[in-house]
């Protein structure tokens, strides 16, 4: 413990960066907020793209932040196996920058939604989900207007066959129903892996269910992925 330094990349309009820092600190994972224009610090052994509304969601959520030069460094780090987690706006930035496939776009409801949801763990053999069993159901909040996972049917099938779907929206009992799908995501997809299992993005906020004071700590296992991937 304590050997990992996670760079939490702050863009103009990021607003979950401090939550992420507190959550990681609680887990005794060393973390540092990094302004995107300053680039990644030397010795970065993990990267978190936090939630928020970078650049006011202009054009598309995440589209502007994805063009920041720091994202070239992030992509390079991804290729070297550095663990990278994108949450909410960070997930949108991840898809816009090509770290992960698909797109997170306007909710089916066309509204901003802030509510707890249930997620089914689709794979428990990745750094982000080792704490769980496959099929486990965890409760994590969402807070987004553009979280509907969209991709071509053909490509989605290929991602499914490759085991690149990490979380799906489900009922409390783990069933994948339309009612349990808060935003109309294809096949209830809530989070996906990149080319490597060390890269993951998800729309729900694990950092908001990590501190015991909040009452629910279901998200801890996801953030602990930074240590597991580093080991």
């Amino acid at each position: 413990m304590g050997t990992v330094t996670v760079a939490i990349v702050r863009f103009g309009g990021s607003n979950c960066d401090r939550d992420a820092e507190r959550a990681l600190e609680h887990l005794e994972i060393d973390a540092e907020i990094v302004w995107h224009e300053d680039g990644l610090p030397d010795g970065t052994t993990g990267i978190m793209l936090p939630g928020g509304f970078s650049y006011g969601d202009y054009l598309r959520a995440g589209a502007m932040a994805a063009q920041s030069p720091i994202m070239d460094e992030v992509r390079e780090a991804a290729g070297e196996g550095v663990p990278i987690l994108g949450v909410c706006n960070g997930a949108q930035v991840g898809c816009e920058s090509g770290l992960t496939e698909g797109a997170f776009t306007t909710n089916e409801s066309a509204r901003f939604q802030c509510e707890p949801v249930y997620l089914r763990v689709e794979r428990a053999d990745t750094p982000w989900t080792e704490r769980y069993e496959e099929g486990d159901v965890i409760e994590v909040p969402i807070a987004h207007g553009e979280g509907r996972y969209e991709i071509t049917d053909e490509r989605l099938e290929e991602l499914e066959d490759d085991g690149r779907i990490l979380f799906r929206y489900c009922t409390e009992d783990g069933e994948l129903t339309d009612e349990a799908n808060p935003n109309g995501s294809k096949h209830n997809v809530a989070g996906v892996l990149g080319d490597r299992e060390t890269v993951a993005v998800l729309m729900p906020h694990p950092e908001r269910v990590t501190l015991p004071d909040i009452g629910n700590t279901d998200g801890q296992g996801v953030l602990e992925g930074f240590e597991r991937a580093d080991a």
Binding site: Q67, G102, T105, T106, E150, T152
Partner: protein
Amino acid sequence: MTAYTATVTIRLKHGVLDPEAETTRRALERLGFDLEDLRSADRFEIDLEAEDAGEATERVDEMAQRLLANPTIHDYDVEVDER
């Protein structure tokens, strides 16, 4: 060099759900309008100088590919006119 205005129109790919258009369609129907369907699109007008229309198109096409459109969900077209 010639002055051009390039118009980039960005639409959702066929089959991609458009909740904003759907909401707009329902609002029009509530106002009493009769319509079968409604699609929305984004349009950007870009003023630039180029050697010829071909070069202007090529440059704007790259802008669309790299930023204005998201190829996962969008189709786009570029039209170039002398200004």
